[in-house]
């Protein structure tokens, strides 16, 4: 009694699936009808067998026998046609719903901003989009189909059995009911033990991983033997947990066989007695036998389906938390500007990630066409500044203005369309070099792509690849060097012909000579564009109109190269060091 209210609670998440099922309700009804017809036809065969066997006990008419045999075949054929339709329709619907659900999930993920991706790791999101989606799909397809099938089989077969002999029917159904309970019971426990195995498996994996990642310490401190002993323990535990599963799962199939067999014994004992006393015919007996065999799968399926529903509900809950996350960055009361010029004004910007302050009272302005450089140590907040200009994170109103307008009131599409962004961590898609460069401007022609590659000094590199611009990047293609990746990313940003170009430490992996060349060719390209250069290197930033030095989220120095050199602070020290560095490299 206490358990009853809990089940709907656990299953409740499945309610979120209803909107996805609605478009297919006609198909589902039709499918249910197919299940009903299939089951009626399936129940016919044993009945014909019954008549046939009864016939065998009397005077045998061969023609009639052949007729019964043909009838069994015909019924089975008809059943087959409907069974085919049932599976196609119902499982088909589940695949359509899965398709819709996956599209919805992806589309929703696209709307979510940086704060969501900071909270959820890629692995976590992938788990929801793969394992959880699969569990939900199992509910939609097999679980629904087998529930319907089991229901109709029960209705038809059990009513026939009751009609034949209700006492015998109730008797043979007892072990069958036990089958359902056993499947449910085992299913849950097996699942639990399986999870314990998975836990230990991940412990085992961690130990191997640590041992290999820390191989220097392991060797230097003579830990090889000790690790073998520790691994042995973990390995033994894994063995034990596997065996504890076997102790349970090993009984599963034998138990089902036993229970189904007991049903047969009851038939033989009680039913046989009824045949002797003439209450049942031998044909009835044979029909009973066939019906018991027919019920064996649905009673197994019933227990199984209940577990699928529970797991599917938990998975749907996890998917739903993603679907119900509101995008933190989105258009609200926006009006497009006629054309973005590229004036940027930042006023009193404070920003924190999960409560940890990153930027403090940052204010500056850049006029359209000017170049602003930002230098500072790792963790000083430079990259955050860049991502805020692209509105990758939610921002309070009024702190960043573009062309005098609060960026929250500019449509995202227009704002981002005006920006060419080269993020610090270069991200390229596993696609051809050409399509990577044209990522932001799919309509760009060959010439444009090649020119962009030329400006960022990567064209020659690309043309030396086996398939030139058609070369695949990434796991299945060639691996680009860090510098090549950065330069492709710069080409990608240039090709969108941005009003504002943001290079976030985008030249860190190229050597100074290449950097010099890129900066020279970029110089012309930057004419008339606003540029934000973030870097560690003086050589990258020295020509900027304005230079800001960030330290722990605050602007500590500002001015142009000359002014900052005169100031003799961080910037001047950095400059001095780089001269020494060059000297050392030459030496």
């Amino acid at each position: 009694m206490i358990k009853l209210p809990r089940i709907p609670e656990r299953i409740r998440h499945l309610g979120h699936l209803l909107p996805f099922l609605r478009p297919y309700r006609r198909s589902m009804l039709l499918g249910a009808l197919m299940v009903l017809i299939t089951n009626i036809l399936a129940a016919a065969s044993p009945w014909i067998l019954k008549i046939g066997v009864d016939h065998l006990t009397q005077e045998i008419n061969l023609n009639l026998l052949a007729f019964y045999a043909a009838l069994i075949l015909a019924a089975s054929l008809a059943e087959g046609v409907f069974r085919f339709a049932m599976r196609r329709i119902l499982i088909g619907v589940s695949r359509h719903v899965e398709y819709d659900l996956r599209n919805t999930l992806f589309h929703h993920l696209q709307q979510l901003s940086g704060d969501f991706y900071q909270k959820h790791s890629t692995g976590d999101i992938m788990a929801r989009a793969t394992n959880d989606l699969n569990a939900v799909r199992s509910v939609l397809g097999p679980a629904i189909m087998y529930s319907l099938n089991t229901f109709f089989t029960f209705v038809t077969v059990i009513s026939l059995l009751l009609y034949l002999n209700w006492r015998l029917a109730l008797l043979v159904l007892v072990p069958l009911a036990a089958v359902t309970l056993a499947v449910k019971f085992f299913g849950q426990r097996i699942h639990q033990r399986f999870e314990k195995i998975q836990e230990q498996f991940s412990d085992l994996t961690t130990m191997v991983q640590e041992n290999l990642a820390g191989v220097r310490v392991v060797k230097a401190y003579n830990q090889e033997q000790a690790f073998i002993e520790r691994f042995q323990q973990a390995n033994q535990e894994y063995f034990d947990r596997n065996l504890s599963l076997v102790r349970l799962s090993g009984a599963y199939n034998p138990l089902l066989t036993l229970l189904l067999g007991l049903s047969m014994v009851l038939l033989l004992w009680y039913g046989g007695g009824k045949v002797i006393s003439g209450v049942l015919s031998l044909g009835d007996f044979a029909a009973f036998m066939s019906y018991i065999m027919m019920l064996s799968w649905p009673v197994i399926a019933l227990g199984w389906v209940m577990n699928i529903f529970e797991r599917g509900a938990a998975s749907m809950g996890r998917i739903n938390t993603v679907l119900q996350t509101q995008p933190a960055v989105r258009d609200r009361d926006t009006r497009p500007l006629e054309r973005i010029q590229g004036d940027i004004e930042v006023q009193g910007l404070d920003f924190a990630y999960n409560g940890a302050p990153v930027l403090h009272d940052v204010s500056f302005s850049v006029k359209a066409g000017e170049t602003l450089a930002v230098v500072g140590r790792t963790g000083s907040g430079k990259s955050t500044l860049a991502s805020l200009l692209c509105r990758l994170h939610p921002l309070p109103d009024g702190v960043i203005k573009v062309d005098g307008r609060d960026i929250n009131s500019i449509p995202l599409e227009q704002l981002r369309g005006a920006i060419g962004f080269v993020p610090q961590e270069t991200f390229l898609f596993s696609d051809t070099v050409e399509r990577n460069i044209a990522f932001g401007s799919p309509q760009a022609g060959q010439d444009g792509i090649r020119r962009a590659a030329e400006v960022s000094n990567v064209r020659q590199d690309i043309e030396e690849f086996p398939e030139g611009f058609q070369t695949f990047v990434g796991e299945r293609g060639i691996t680009l060097s860090g510098g090549q990746k950065q330069r492709v990313a710069i080409s990608r940003a240039l090709l969108v012909d941005p009003r504002i170009l943001i290079l976030d430490d985008a030249l860190s992996a190229v050597d100074t000579e290449t950097e010099e060349r890129i900066l020279r060719s970029l110089g012309d390209e930057l004419q008339g564009r606003t540029a934000l250069l973030i870097s560690h290197r003086i050589s990258t930033v020295s020509r900027a109109d304005k230079i800001l030095v960030l330290d722990r989220g605050r602007i500590v120095e500002r001015g142009d190269h000359e002014e900052l050199m005169k100031l003799g602070g961080y910037y001047a020290a950095l400059y001095e060091k780089q001269l020494l560095q060059e000297e050392l490299e030459a030496g």
């Binding site: 045998i60 089975s76 059943e79 695949r95 992806f106 991983q209 990642a213 047969m264």
Partner: protein, 616 residues
């Protein structure tokens, strides 16, 4: 662990490879008894499975037809007995078989892990950790499938099928032969189905891999997609891939939807044949009614073993591929071998000598050229140089992580190649730049773990060590002191605290030689002072070789070796070298001078000047 990568690694091998199979069955050998028992039990189960319908036949013919109440009850009891026996045998069989399979996997994992411990560092430089982990875990589990649900089950299926066939022939060979007419149909239908489904599923798997790879990429690069305004285009691409997947699946449903009705139909055909031909036989008095009923039950049991058998091929195939990868790993020979008669002194003096050492990680690209130097017992030597000058390599070579091609490295005048590897490493304690912490308690991370040959320091001496290097105060502030668990590689500890732990780890071993690669990352002034003092204590009375990043370290060294592009360029004391105004002078200004300023101003943070250099 690294995030999982979603791409279709579908390198399926051959279904059967004799060489691999023989080697794999070698692992079965120690468990001959268990395997024999499992097979005997399997035979029992198969025989008992066949008994059920036969008992039905006897019941109908001998007791029901004869109206023998008493006999019928007795038979029912026998039937129950058979069922119970079958249950016990099947359960025992599953247990023994899985026990054996798991034991073999256990052995195999031990072998692989043990093998990892013997391999040299250059192997781990070449092979990504993720791939090696897969060998010891996932690949082994795939092999388990082969043993537990593969080979032995195949025997079981064959036995069951043979038993059914024999029983039918025994009851009535004519009707049996007629019933067997459906077997080829069943085999053909199953074979065609499995083939089609395999193809369809290969397509489905490729599609799902394409979806997941795309999804993962987009989740990782979401910022790029959003900034470049390509959400719609990416969505469209995703939808297309999703659609391909759906369509591939809809195709596979077709095969399932056709297959099950076909199997049913074949079953119905068997029943129809039995009814018709059996009826004929009954009429002639050659067959009893009970036999007809038993035949109907037998025919129903053809399907399971046939379907199972065809499924085993997939398992065989992936098991072969996994075993091939595992054996390839096990066949990698460790390239650094122990000398057969190793030098194993009780106590080393602690003299280090490099004699014309040239070394390259990749052939033809040497990182050390003709390096020679000598460190006397108890001497403090610092190595300085720019990034990439080869400083860290010297440290790796000393403890014989790599084998050198030219020259000699001598400890106490004995070539490291002649040293007992364990003894050599026991004389030295190495503290690396990135402090590696294992999952475990603080205490375990200082003491590390004991083995018979290499006992870990006792709790008292490790606490003493922690106290000496100033690690104790912060350890005791942790919730459970020395017993606190270290979270995710020590992410809850500061960089400075992790270093102090590593110092304690080294000191607890009371080594003759201390080898230290100083970390470059910035540390607050207070901790920095603690570290400097700890270092001083650590080096007291030992030979020390330090890749120095601290001004205090170079100032207190007896001698400084200046390395540049793999060659020793200058050597001498701090004052001597500064006076030379050479390479050291430049390096000093670049890397160390700021620390002087910082110490005076006592505002700290200047360590970062170095990190700025290292980035370049």
């Amino acid at each position: 662990m690294k995030p999982k990568h979603y791409h279709d690694e579908e390198a399926l091998g051959k279904i059967y490879d004799r060489r691999l199979a023989r080697r794999m069955f070698g692992y079965l050998k120690p468990y001959g008894t268990q395997v024999t028992i499992a097979i005997l039990l399997l035979l029992t189960v198969a025989a008992l499975q066949v008994a059920g319908p036969y008992l039905m036949k006897i019941g109908i013919d001998d007791y029901i037809a004869a109206g023998d109440w008493h006999g019928l009850r007795l038979l029912a009891l026998v039937f129950v007995g058979v069922l119970l026996l079958q249950f016990v045998a099947a359960y025992a069989q599953a247990y023994v078989m899985n026990w054996t399979g798991q034991r073999i996997m256990y052995d195999l994992r031990m072998e692989i892990f043990g093998h990892f411990q013997r391999l040299q560092l250059s192997f781990f430089d070449k092979n990504p950790v993720g791939r090696l982990i897969t060998r010891a875990t996932t690949d082994v589990d795939v092999l388990n499938e082969l043993f537990t649900s593969g080979v032995i089950k195949i025997f079981g299926d064959i036995f069951t099928l043979a038993g059914i066939v024999a029983a039918m022939l025994w009851i009535n060979w004519k009707l049996a032969l007629v019933s067997f007419a459906v077997i080829p149909l069943l085999v053909a239908a199953t074979a065609v189905f499995k083939m089609k489904v395999r193809d369809a599923f290969r397509r489905v798997r490729t599609c799902i891999a394409r979806i997941n790879a795309f999804l993962q990429e987009n989740v990782t690069g979401m910022a790029v997609v959003q900034v470049f305004g390509q959400k719609e285009r990416q969505y469209e691409e995703f939808r297309r891939r999703n659609q391909d997947h759906r369509d591939a699946f809809l195709d596979s449903i077709f095969y399932y939807a056709v297959f099950y009705p076909v199997v049913n139909l074949i079953g119905a055909l068997a029943v129809a044949l039995i009814l018709w031909y059996g009826g004929l036989q009954v009429m002639e008095g050659a067959l009893t009614l009970g036999a007809v009923v038993a035949f109907i039950q037998y025919a129903d049991r053809f399907y399971r073993p046939i379907s199972d058998l065809s499924e085993k091929f997939g398992i065989l195939q992936s098991a072969m591929a996994s075993s091939e990868r595992i054996f390839k790993l096990l066949d990698t020979q460790p390239s650094i071998e122990q000398d057969p008669q190793p030098y194993r002194p009780r106590q080393a003096r602690g003299e280090i000598e490099f004699r014309n050492v040239t070394f390259a990680y990749k052939p033809g690209n040497p990182v050390l050229h003709d390096v020679s130097f000598k460190v006397s017992p108890g001497e403090r030597v610092a190595i300085v140089g720019a990034t990439g000058s080869g400083k860290s390599t010297i440290i790796s070579l000393l403890s014989r992580f790599y084998e050198i091609e030219e020259g000699q490295i001598l400890i106490d005048g004995v070539d490291v190649r002649q040293w007992d590897m364990g003894a050599l490493r026991r004389q030295m304690a190495i503290v690396l730049q990135d402090v590696f912490l294992f999952s475990g308690t603080v205490e375990e991370n200082i003491a590390l773990w004991s083995s018979r040959e290499h006992p870990a320091p006792d709790p008292k001496s490790l606490r003493e060590a922690a106290r000496q290097v100033h690690a104790e105060p912060f350890i005791e502030e942790l919730e459970q002191g020395y017993q606190s668990r270290i979270a995710e590689r020590g992410s809850s500890l500061s960089v400075g605290q992790r270093q102090l732990l590593a110092f304690a780890r080294a000191l607890a071993r009371d080594p003759r030689v201390l080898i230290l690669d100083e970390a470059t990352s910035s540390i607050d002034t207070e901790t920095e002072l603690l570290i400097q003092d700890a270092l001083d204590r650590l080096m007291q009375g030992r030979t020390s070789l330090v890749v120095a990043h601290r001004l205090s370290t170079i100032q207190t060294s007896d001698r400084i070796i200046v390395l540049h592009k793999g060659r020793i360029r200058e050597a001498g004391t701090h004052q001597q070298l500064l006076a030379q105004k050479g390479l050291y002078h430049t390096l000093y200004q670049l890397q160390y001078k700021d620390q002087l300023k910082g110490a005076w101003a006592s505002e700290g943070q200047d360590g970062e000047a170095i990190s700025c250099l290292d980035r370049a």
